[in-house]
C-alpha cells in the first residue's frame, strides 16, 4: 500500500528526514516511535503534502502510484488521511458542514453520488456513537473551543467518515486521559481492515497497548534506527530512548 524508498526531506530549508525506507502492506498497522524532534510529524506532513515541506531525494509509492506527484487534496481524495497532532480551528465554519463538504469531495472523486443532508446525518450519528462524540460539537465551529480530547475524537470521526485507505495518526494519544485514549483506540481498531494500512505515530508505548501494531519502527535523527515486532515498544518503554542512541 505504501512504499517509502530512501526518503530525504526538508522542513523549510532544514534537512530533517535523512533516508527512510518503509513498506506498509494492506491490512498492516505500523507504529513509529521516537523522541521529540526526531522528525515524526515531518514525515507525516511530507506524506500528506503539506506546503513548506520538500522532498530532496527518494520516492514514495501509494497503491503503486507516485504519491509525491499528487496535489495535497488529490492525495486526500485518493484515501490518504492524516489525523493531526494539533487539529486546526476554523472559526465560523460549522463542524457538521465541513465534514459533509469533505465527505462529498471524496465521494465525488470516487465517482459516487454526494450525500444529502439527511443521509449524511444518519451516517454521522452512527460514527459519533463509536467515538462517544457529544452532538453539540457538530453544530459548533471546527475545533474552536474543543478540549484536547474532543479535537482528537473529531479527527477520528472524520477518519471514520472518509474511510481512507492509508491512515496516518500523528500522536493522536498525546494529551488524552485514559478514557479518551480508549475511545480513540476503539475508533481506530474499528477501522482496521484487510484493505487498509495504518501508520500510528506515538511518543509513548501506552497507545500500543490498545492499538496493537504489526511492526514497530524507531525514528531518531530523521532515520529509522530500529525495527521490530510489537515487543519493541515494550522494550523501548522499559529502557528509554537513550537506549537507541543517535545514528549520527
Amino acid at each position: 500500500m505504501l512504499e517509502i524508498k530512501n526518503l530525504h526531506a526538508n522542513a523549510g530549508d532544514t534537512p530533517i528526514i535523512k533516508g527512510i525506507d518503509l513498506n506498509i502492506g494492506a491490512g498492516e498497522v505500523h507504529a513509529i516511535m521516537g523522541p521529540n524532534g526526531s522528525g515524526k510529524s515531518t514525515l507525516s506532513n511530507v506524506l500528506a503534502g503539506r506546503p513548506g515541506y520538500s522532498v530532496t531525494r527518494g520516492e514514495v509509492l501509494y497503491a503503486g502510484q507516485n504519491l509525491l506527484d499528487m496535489p495535497t487534496e488529490i492525495r486526500a481524495r485518493e484515501g490518504v488521511f492524516l489525523a493531526f497532532q494539533y487539529p486546526v480551528e476554523i472559526p465560523g465554519v460549522g463542524n457538521s458542514y465541513f465534514l459533509k463538504t469533505s465527505v462529498n469531495a471524496v465521494r465525488t472523486h470516487r465517482g459516487e453520488d454526494e450525500l444529502d443532508a439527511m443521509d449524511f446525518l444518519s451516517i454521522c450519528e452512527e460514527k459519533m456513537k463509536l467515538v462517544e462524540m457529544p452532538s453539540d460539537l457538530m453544530s459548533r465551529s471546527i475545533n474552536e473551543g474543543f478540549s484536547g480530547g474532543e479535537k482528537k475524537r473529531n479527527e477520528i470521526l472524520q477518519m471514520l467518515l472518509l474511510e481512507p485507505k492509508l491512515c496516518i495518526l500523528d500522536e493522536t494519544d498525546s494529551g488524552l486521559d485514559i478514557d479518551a485514549l480508549r475511545v480513540v483506540a476503539e475508533g481506530v481498531n474499528a477501522m482496521r481492515s484487510p484493505d487498509r494500512a495504518m501508520l500510528v505515530i506515538t511518543h509513548y508505548q501506552r497507545l500500543l497497548d490498545y492499538i496493537v501494531p504489526d511492526r514497530v519502527h524507531v525514528l531518531s535523527g530523521g532515520q529509522i534506527v530500529r525495527s521490530g515486532g510489537k515487543e519493541l515498544a515494550g522494550e523501548l518503554e522499559a529502557k528509554g530512548y537513550g537506549w537507541i542512541g543517535n545514528p549520527e
Binding site: F98, T101, A105
Partner: protein
C-alpha cells in the same frame, strides 16, 4: 499553489457575470451640470416648486464646494479627479411613460432583470419567497411589484418620483431631514440631480409582511446614477429592506452617488440590508463604479431600532458610512459589514453611531477582507453626547488578508462626552492561515473551496444578519469575488 486544480482555473477565468449591456433606447440629456440641467430633470419629473427649490439650493452649495475643492480627500482612496461636466445626469429607458401594470413594461427590461436573477413578474417568484421589488434602471424606477398587496395594509412602496406626486406631504416632511442637502460633497451633488429611487412608508403598528427591495442597475455608458431612498417606519412599525446593485463592464469609471435616509419613530424598527456588487473594474484596475454613498438613519423615537447590514464586494472604490443617529431614549443602532477588496479595488467604509438619547445602544461588527492589491479601510466614529446617560457601544473590527500585497487599515474615532457611557472596541488583523488551508486540503477540499469556507466563516457574524436568500447570494458573491486571489 495547486495550479492543476481545474476549479481554480475555472474560477480564475470567470468574468463578472452581470457585465452585459442591454440594448434599450434611452432618453438622455447632454453631459454636464448646470442650473439648466437641474431644471430639466425637475421638469421631466413634473415636480412641485418646493422640490425644484431644494435642488437648486443643493446645486448652488455643490458649486461652491467644487470651487473650494471640498471633495473629500480624507478617505484612504485614490482616484483621478472627476470632471463633473463629463457626466450624464439623466438617462431613462424609452418610452418613459409611467406604466400602470407590468404588462406594459418593455420586455427587454424585464429580460434584463430576469438575467440578473430578479423577477418582476409577481406570479413567477424566483426564490419561492415574496419580495416586493422596485427596479431602478439608470435614472428611473421602471417597475414596483406587489404594490396592491402592500396597499391593503396601508404600506406605501413606490418609486421616489411617484411618491413626490402622490404623497407630497410625507416627502416634504422627511426629505433631507436625516441627510441635509448640504451634508457633504456627494450628498449635495445627489440632492441637486437625483433622478429616482425608492420610497416606503410603513404606517403605525404595521409589520411589513414581506421584504421590500430595490434593485439598482446602471446600463447606459457615461451616466452617473444618483438615486434617493427614503424609508419611514411610523410608531410601532417594522420593515426589512434589501438593496442590490450591478452594472455592465466598462473601461471607464462610472459614478454612483446615492443618498439613503431612514426614519424610525417610537418602537419602530428598520432592517436595511445591502449586497453591493457594482462592477469592480478588471484585474488591472481599469473601469468600475465609484460608489460614493451617504446612508444615514435616524432613530427618532423611543426604543426604535435601525440595523444596517452590508456586503460590499463590488465597485472600484467604495466610500460609505451607513450611520445611526440615536435620538430616542433606549434606541438601538447596529452596523454589520463585510467588505471585500480584490485586485485594485479600494474601500473606505465604516459607520457613525451618534448617541444622543439616554440608554442608547450600538453594535458595530466589521469584517474586512483584502486580496490581490486591494486596499481596505475601516473608519468609524462612536460619539456619545453629553445627555446620553448609560449609552453603550460595542465595536469589533476584524481584517483578513489574503496575500502580501493587499492592505487593511482601521481608524476608530471615539468621542465620549458622558462619563456613564460604556464603550468597547476590539480589532484584529490576521492573514489567512496556511494551516487552516492545509487542514481543508487534507480533507479533500480544493484550495478555492478551502479559502471560500474560511472567508465565509470569518464573515459569519455578519452574514447571519442577512435575510435567508440574500445570505446565500452573498456567500456565492464572496467566493466569486475571491477569484484569482490564490495561485
Amino acid at each position: 499553489m495547486s495550479a492543476q486544480n481545474p476549479e481554480l482555473e475555472r474560477l480564475a477565468n470567470e468574468e463578472y457575470k452581470y457585465g452585459f449591456v442591454s440594448d434599450i433606447e434611452s432618453d438622455q440629456i447632454a453631459p454636464g451640470l448646470s442650473e439648466e440641467v437641474v431644471r430639466l430633470i425637475s421638469a421631466k419629473k413634473e415636480e412641485p416648486a418646493w422640490l425644484l427649490d431644494f435642488r437648486l439650493k443643493a446645486l448652488a452649495r455643490f458649486q461652491e464646494m467644487l470651487e473650494e475643492k471640498h471633495e473629500p480627500g480624507w478617505a484612504k482612496v485614490d482616484y483621478p479627479e472627476i470632471n463633473y461636466q463629463d457626466i450624464i445626469y439623466y438617462s431613462a429607458p424609452k418610452p418613459s411613460v409611467e406604466v400602470e401594470s407590468l404588462d406594459e413594461v418593455d420586455p427587454e427590461l424585464l429580460r434584463t432583470y430576469e438575467k440578473l436573477g430578479i423577477s418582476l413578474d409577481e406570479q413567477k417568484r424566483l426564490s419561492g419567497v415574496k419580495v416586493a421589488v422596485d427596479a431602478v434602471f439608470d435614472s428611473v424606477s421602471v417597475a414596483t411589484t406587489y404594490r396592491a398587496e402592500l396597499e391593503k395594509q396601508g404600506i406605501i412602496f413606490c418609486s421616489f418620483s411617484e411618491a413626490v406626486k402622490n404623497h407630497p406631504d410625507l416627502i416634504k416632511k422627511y426629505l433631507g431631514s436625516v441627510v441635509p442637502y448640504s451634508d457633504n460633497f456627494f450628498a449635495c451633488l445627489n440632492s441637486a440631480v437625483f433622478s429616482d429611487g425608492s420610497f416606503a412608508y410603513i404606517p403605525k403598528g404595521v409589520r411589513c409582511p414581506m421584504e421590500l427591495s430595490t434593485y439598482f442597475r446602471i446600463n447606459s455608458a457615461g451616466t452617473g446614477q444618483f438615486e434617493r431612498t427614503l424609508l419611514v417606519a411610523d410608531e410601532g412599525a417594522s420593515v426589512s429592506y434589501l438593496e442590490g446593485c450591478t452594472a455592465p463592464m466598462r473601461d471607464e469609471n462610472q459614478l454612483h452617488a446615492a443618498v439613503v435616509e431612514l426614519v424610525a419613530l417610537d418602537d419602530a424598527s428598520i432592517k436595511y440590508s445591502t449586497v453591493q456588487n457594482w462592477y469592480p473594474g478588471d484585474k488591472n484596475g481599469v473601469g468600475g463604479i465609484y460608489n460614493f454613498v451617504t446612508k444615514r438613519g435616524a432613530c427618532r423615537g423611543k426604543r426604535s431600532k435601525i440595523s444596517w447590514t452590508q456586503v460590499e464586494t463590488g465597485s472600484a472604490i467604495t466610500w460609505k458610512y451607513p450611520s445611526c443617529i440615536l435620538q430616542g431614549d433606549d434606541s438601538v443602532g447596529e452596523f454589520y459589514s463585510v467588505a471585500m477588496t480584490n485586485n485594485y479595488q479600494q474601500a473606505d467604509t465604516g459607520t457613525k453611531m451618534i448617541h444622543i438619547g439616554k440608554n442608547t445602544k450600538s453594535t458595530i461588527i466589521s469584517k474586512g477582507i483584502s486580496a490581490g492589491r486591494g486596499q481596505q479601510t475601516y473608519r468609524g466614529l462612536v460619539k456619545i453626547g453629553r445627555k446620553a446617560e448609560g449609552a453603550r457601544n460595542y465595536s469589533q473590527c476584524d481584517s483578513l488578508l489574503l496575500g502580501s500585497e493587499c492592505g487593511a487599515h482601521t481608524f476608530p474615532y471615539l468621542d465620549v462626552e458622558n462619563p456613564s457611557a460604556t464603550v468597547e472596541h476590539e480589532a484584529t488583523t490576521s492573514k489567512i492561515g496556511e494551516d487552516q488551508i492545509f487542514y481543508c486540503l487534507q480533507r479533500g477540499l480544493s484550495e478555492e473551496d478551502a479559502i471560500s469556507i474560511i472567508v465565509n466563516g470569518f464573515c459569519k457574524e455578519v452574514l447571519r444578519e442577512l435575510p435567508m436568500e440574500f445570505a446565500v447570494e452573498a456567500q456565492n458573491l464572496l467566493s466569486l469575488s475571491l477569484e484569482g486571489s490564490v495561485g
